[in-house]
């Protein structure tokens, strides 16, 4: 129980640090949101009006106080360009990003776990080296580039899949594959490392001498012990994967949070940027928390109270 509270506290701290950093950065930067909002032709009276409307004429510390108070009440101000509550604008886009993110991590897990096991059973052979090099290649391709290539092959040259947007479920295929490629490369190498260590462990030799089948040895004995690090990695990769999702969303015109923030940055829509950063941070922290709390399900040896946070 104390562990859960501690982890929650950490998560809240992370989110709080994020939001404060964003607030400070925005106020430190050159450039003026009032000008951006009112347009280059605005008179100084109009500018003053805009400043007053958004509270930009107050001292920084007062602005921060207002900001924190609003934050606690779940209100991050009105988006300049959408003329709607910023949180609401982001939340409307969030399901699309979530769909893409979870589809990708699911695909990545389905492909990379068998692949990693395959590699682990053939450590240091020529075949494994080949797959290893291919996975390094997969790790080395910029995701937006892979996205454009996939798009031009499967949507332009052979028009079998929709190129952009989210009209049908088929539109999910290309973005998901694009995001998953990098994750497959990373996760399969992790699975390989964990499995190789467990396959070489003495307990496995003993089990083999007792006549346990190879299949059970791999999937039940070794996998059972590799599951935790792999599962943790899936949790920590989630934050990094959201980065990839942002880029890929832009390539495929996916109506998610990623394409939203790129647009918000172009218009200097500060409340919207803050809301986006806050919500994605919350999302990443929440996913990681869920992963941490799910440990005991995978490993009966772990008791939450005793697990160390490092």
């Amino acid at each position: 129980m104390t562990y859960i509270v501690k982890r929650l506290g950490q998560g809240v701290l992370t989110v709080f640090l994020t939001v404060s950093t964003v607030f400070i950065l925005i106020r430190l930067a050159p450039g003026n949101p009032a000008v951006a909002y009112a347009g280059p032709l605005a008179t100084s009276a109009q500018l003053a009006q805009v400043r007053k409307q958004f509270g930009l004429d107050q001292p920084l510390i007062v602005q921060y106080g207002t900001f924190i108070r609003q934050l606690l009440s779940g209100n991050l101000g009105t988006s300049y360009s959408f003329q709607a509550p910023a949180i609401q604008v982001v939340l409307e886009r969030l399901p699309f990003t979530l769909t893409l993110a979870f589809a990708s991590i699911l695909l990545a897990a389905i492909v990379s776990i068998p692949l990693g096991v395959w590699m682990a059973r053939r450590t240091d052979t020529k075949k494994e080296l080949g797959v290893n090099v291919v996975s390094i290649a997969g790790q080395s391709m910029p995701d937006f580039w892979t996205g454009i290539l996939l798009l031009s092959v499967f949507a332009v040259v052979f028009p079998i899949l929709p190129a952009s947007g989210f009209a049908t479920w088929a539109g999910l295929v290309l973005p998901t594959v694009t995001v998953a490629i990098l994750q497959v490369a990373l996760i399969s190498r992790l699975v390989r490392r964990e499995m190789a260590a467990n396959l070489a462990a003495p307990y496995l030799t003993i089990a083999r001498s007792r006549g346990v089948s190879e299949r059970a040895l791999t999937w039940k004995y070794a996998m059972g012990n590799s599951a935790i690090p792999v599962f943790t990695a899936l949790g920590t990769r989630f934050a990094a994967m959201l980065n990839g999702v942002v880029v890929v969303e832009v390539v495929f015109g996916w109506p998610g949070v990623g394409s939203l923030i790129v647009r918000a940055l172009a218009t200097r829509d500060y409340p919207l940027i803050q809301a986006t950063v806050l919500i994605t941070a919350l999302l990443a922290v929440a996913v990681q928390l869920v992963v941490d709390l799910a440990y005991p399900l995978l490993d009966p040896r772990v008791r939450l109270g005793k697990a160390s946070a490092s």
């Binding site: 992370t14 964003v22 090099v133 910029p142 454009i148 880029v247 790129v262 950063v277 941070a281």
Partner: protein, 319 residues
């Protein structure tokens, strides 16, 4: 302790070893063949890595010396020329600019940013990581929490924000990438220092009355530096990728030359008619990053003279 070192040290010549030792020898032979295979694999990786990285790096370094058109010179009469057309090895873009020249000059910027970012993040990471590992207690708690917090966030949004706010100049982008990368170095350095500080020589230095700061700087950091520096190549690969992603999203440097991500994003609009605009810069990125990754991987996998039993054995053989 001395008995096994003598028997095992007799090595392959020990044909008269009693049969009870045969299994030990067999296992050693297997070990050696595994190590040999691993060594050849790492050598292969090093070679492929070096070649594919140099294929990109050498032309980039020589960009000013090669007979190339100015990367920003527009030639509206020759827009979207296909590769291998007269005077344009890789074709031209939508404004008639020579693609090869643009890619090479942009590459200079990308590479400079990557290298600078790795140096900056390496410095921050080694300093903070070693302080956290060596001093422990609340210093460690603060740095580790900061590190964890940063690693659990989708950082790209934040980086985009910084670039958008402070302008896409080379120093800003370098700084942003360095900030994104320091936790990895710091985490590695911290774990290395944690091991190192328990070693007897640290206690000895402390007994001699050396200041803790001096012990850290003069004795501990040099000892972990070599191991920590292996991560540099992997960081460089990531830095190049990150720069290209920022640049693709419109947060890359514009002056003096557009970098690879930007060229690809320009080319995206012409992907149906001018495939080379997207493909060529992408291939440059992929070759460079694969090369650097393979080099890093090969260096890491290279069988090192391991401590303990193996070192003892090899010493015995040399004698």
């Amino acid at each position: 302790m001395s008995t096994p070192s003598v028997t095992l040290g007799s090595g392959p010549h020990g044909s008269d070893t009693p049969s009870a030792r045969a299994s030990t020898l067999d296992r050693r032979r297997i070990k050696r063949s595994e190590a040999a295979r691993r060594r050849s694999a790492s050598r292969l990786k090093l070679w492929i890595g070096a070649i594919s990285a140099l294929v990109v790096i050498i032309p980039i370094l020589l960009a000013q010396l090669l007979p190339l058109p100015d990367p920003n010179a527009q030639d509206l009469g020759n827009r979207l020329e296909a590769p291998f057309s007269a005077g344009h090895l890789f074709g031209t873009d939508q404004l008639g600019r020579d693609l090869l020249s643009r890619v090479l000059h942009g590459g200079q910027i990308s590479l400079t940013i990557g290298i600078l970012a790795v140096i900056v993040s390496g410095l921050i990471g080694v300093v903070l990581g070693s302080i956290a590992g060596f001093y422990g207690k609340w210093v460690d708690v603060v740095i580790s929490r900061l590190l964890e917090a940063q690693m659990s966030l989708p950082l790209l949004m934040m980086l985009l924000l910084v670039v958008a706010l402070f302008g896409p100049s080379i120093p800003v982008i370098t700084f942003v990438i360095a900030i994104a990368q320091w936790p990895e170095v710091a985490r590695l350095t911290r774990s290395l220092v944690l091991v190192e500080r328990e070693k007897p020589y640290v206690a000895a230095a402390r007994t001699l009355g050396l200041h803790r700061m001096l012990i850290l700087l003069r004795h501990v950091v040099p000892n972990v530096f070599k191991q920590a520096s292996l991560v540099i190549l992997l960081l460089l690969a990531q830095a190049v990728l990150l720069e290209s992603a920022l640049s693709f999203l419109g947060a890359g440097p514009q002056r003096p030359f557009a970098t690879w991500g930007r060229i690809i994003s320009d080319g995206q609009d012409y992907v149906t008619t001018a495939w080379w605009m997207v493909t060529v810069p992408g291939i440059f990125i992929v070759l460079l990053v694969i090369g650097v990754n393979l080099l890093g991987d090969g260096l890491r996998d290279r069988p090192r003279r391991t401590k303990g039993l193996v070192a003892l054995l090899s010493k015995g053989k040399n004698r």
